[in-house]
Amino acid sequence: MSVIESVKAAIEKVVPFSETVIPADPAGEGEEQQPDQVVHSAGAKEVDFAKTGCSLDVLCTAEQILDVAHALDGEQLFIESIAGVDWPKEDQIEVVYTFSHFQDSDVRVMVRLRVPRSEPKVPTISKVFSGADWHERETYDFYGVEFTDHPNLIRILLPEDADFYPLRKDYMP
Amino acid sequence: MQPLVCPSGTLPSLFSAEGFAGIIFLLTVFLVISGAVIAVVSKRLVRAVAGLAVCFTGLAGVYYFLLSPFVAMMQMLIYVGAVSILIAFGIMMATPEDKITPDNKYLSKLIGPLAGSVGALFFAGFSLLAVKTDWQVFPEHAAADGSIKAVGMTLLTTHSMVFELISIVLLLAIIGALVLARRGRN
């Protein structure tokens, strides 16, 4: 079993795979009818590595992230980065974790989760991956995502007294 | 080695060797006294140790004038080079307080006069000794002092007791420094 398959199986145990169907917009004026869209909504899905640079795309909720991290830790993956993405239209902040593997080639697991913009709270995974400590602090610094139980959640790159989250889309300097 | 003595009753010219030596003698005495005063008066411990070192240096000069260069050098090597540095080292590394603040105020008031009177007593005693002693202008043994053979003979025969005592002083200095330095670490 390749690393990707075993990682997928491990995540499947924590976050079951699911897809939602978004019905096509019926009001297609004059154009031909679009087919219904199938959208990946939870769990691990294999994606084209050559195109996206990732081999697994994992969607989960904030509550599940710690279990996912444990599952990935069990598969000997290492943490590459944690990034935030602001989606003001959906009123959500997305936290994107990327993990990779030291031995196997072309393995990159991208774990994404969304939290509401008004109350962005995600459990910390710094107890599992120590390196996540700084990455989480950086995400907190730029997006204001609060990582609960984080041992030292303070500003890392911005000044200690900064009171803004610059990478949120509505931030104007 | 020729003792530099002035014929009694005449003051040497400043630019003669005697006059020059006299000035340097006064300097050493000044060093002893000022060093001692700094060591006693100064509130900062490190300054007090520096004063002590100055005092020791002056004392070495006095020994030199007493025609004992070996003792003078040893005074420098051991007291300035080892003891004061170890004390300074210990104080720097271990004193919790920069300035001395005694716990008991009454005791501290008592210590000053006590130390003063003991010091005065010693001073009076030594002065009396100095006046009463029939000083030799040029002691016999001084001529030999300095050659290592003489030094070796003296240290291992006549003054072997003193030699051993010096080593105890050094040992105490080392132990004191260690105790001071260790106290901070449990």
Partner: protein, 373 residues
């Protein structure tokens, strides 16, 4: 050892190493809690040269961000150029001509050697050896001159374009590079290894110092020579071959001693491997254009997440690009290798001597603007 009262709080004292300290090579600050010369706790404080490159990326168009990439890791700037170009090309689906890829590899590898040479110089400076600095700079200067010839700049390059490179290389560059390879090969054993690597003082200084276990590397996500010095055979050029790296025959130096000496040896061996890659690339260099034809003036890559990793001199550099069909990136996340490498400093430096901790810090090869971005 403890300090006088005006210098200390308790049995331990806090020593601020930096932000202006000769050994931090920039504006890193490490808050050290010390017990005498022993470090009780080490806490790196970042952000003194933070410039918010990620926001700048969102504010401009895709090409406008290209010059910024070189301002992060100014020692291996071309790899940052390359990484960003690859990420955008992946997102926009731009094909790059083969010659351009070869030129990219040649210049990036030259730049990698320059970076390693400068690291070597700075590391020896940390250890108190000043002379090696000038020997390394002598060789580095040759590389900089070569790169100046093709890229037009000496330090902060902006050489890559989406779909190729800005400038074709000429014969003089090729012969100059070949001369440089023979020159460095002849100098390596004498000036680098005899003088420094085999020096007993250096060996005593860095052997068994700064032990980073394989597990620590994994937990902290340390990559590059730091991971390879801990026995991890991980190199993005081999693990996720990008550009034309799969065409070349080169080894990934791995040492399993896990100490500073292992990291030192990894970098020294990597110089040789980079020379091999350059040699092969020059031999195989195909003819053709150095820019793709039809690259749109205004890039509007479609919706999606694109991750692209390249191997810089310090480890795996990741660009995560989130595109939404607009003419500027919706989000660009820069995963800088030294950020992760430095994050394990606090754990490893605990209980070390100050001098050893600085030797260890040097062996991590920190570039502060890249950490702070």
């Amino acid at each position: 050892m403890t300090l006088p009262v005006h210098l200390r709080h308790d049995e331990t004292f806090v020593l601020n190493l930096g932000p202006q300290h000769p050994a931090t090579h920039g504006v890193l600050r490490v808050k050290l809690t010390m017990d005498g010369e022993y470090i009780v706790k080490a806490e790196p404080v970042l952000g003194y040269i933070h410039r918010m490159h990620e926001k700048l990326a969102e504010a401009g168009t895709y090409p406008q961000f290209m010059p910024n990439t070189a301002r992060m890791d100014y020692l291996h700037a071309l790899a940052f150029n390359h990484g960003y170009a690859l990420a955008v090309e992946k997102a926009a689906g731009i094909e790059v001509p083969e010659r351009a890829e070869y030129i990219r590899v040649i210049t990036v590898e030259l730049n990698r050697i320059a970076s390693h040479l400068l690291w070597w110089a700075a590391f020896l400076l940390d250890l108190g050896g000043f002379t090696p600095l000038l020997y390394a700079f002598d060789d580095r200067e040759q590389i900089i001159d070569l790169l100046e010839r093709v890229t037009g700049s000496r330090l902060t390059y902006c050489y890559m374009r989406f779909g190729g490179v800005y400038n074709d290389i000429d014969d003089e560059f090729i012969t100059g590079t070949r001369d440089f390879i023979t020159r460095l090969r002849s100098r390596m054993p004498r000036m680098y290894h005899d003088l420094v690597t085999h020096n007993i003082i250096l060996i005593k200084r860095i052997k068994d110092i700064g032990f980073i276990s394989e597990e620590q590397c994994r937990r902290y996500g340390a990559t590059g020579p730091v991971a390879r010095g801990s026995g991890i055979n991980y190199d993005v050029r081999k693990n996720e071959p990008y550009s034309v790296y799969q065409e070349f025959d080169f080894d990934v130096p791995v040492y399993s001693e896990c100490d500073s000496m292992a990291r030192y040896m990894v970098r020294m061996d990597e110089i040789e491997q980079s020379l091999r890659i350059i040699e092969q690339a020059l031999d195989k260099l195909p003819d053709g254009p150095v820019m793709a034809k039809k690259v749109p003036k205004i890039l509007k890559p479609g919706l999606g997440y694109h991750y692209s990793a390249v191997e810089t001199a310090r480890g795996s550099l990741g660009h995560m690009l989130v595109c939404n069909g607009d003419k500027n990136p919706y989000k660009l996340k820069l995963r800088s290798p030294t950020f992760s490498n430095l994050s394990l400093y606090g754990e490893v430096a605990e209980g070390m001597l100050l001098a050893d901790a600085l030797a260890f810090m040097g062996s991590l090869d920190l570039v502060i603007p890249e950490i702070d971005r």
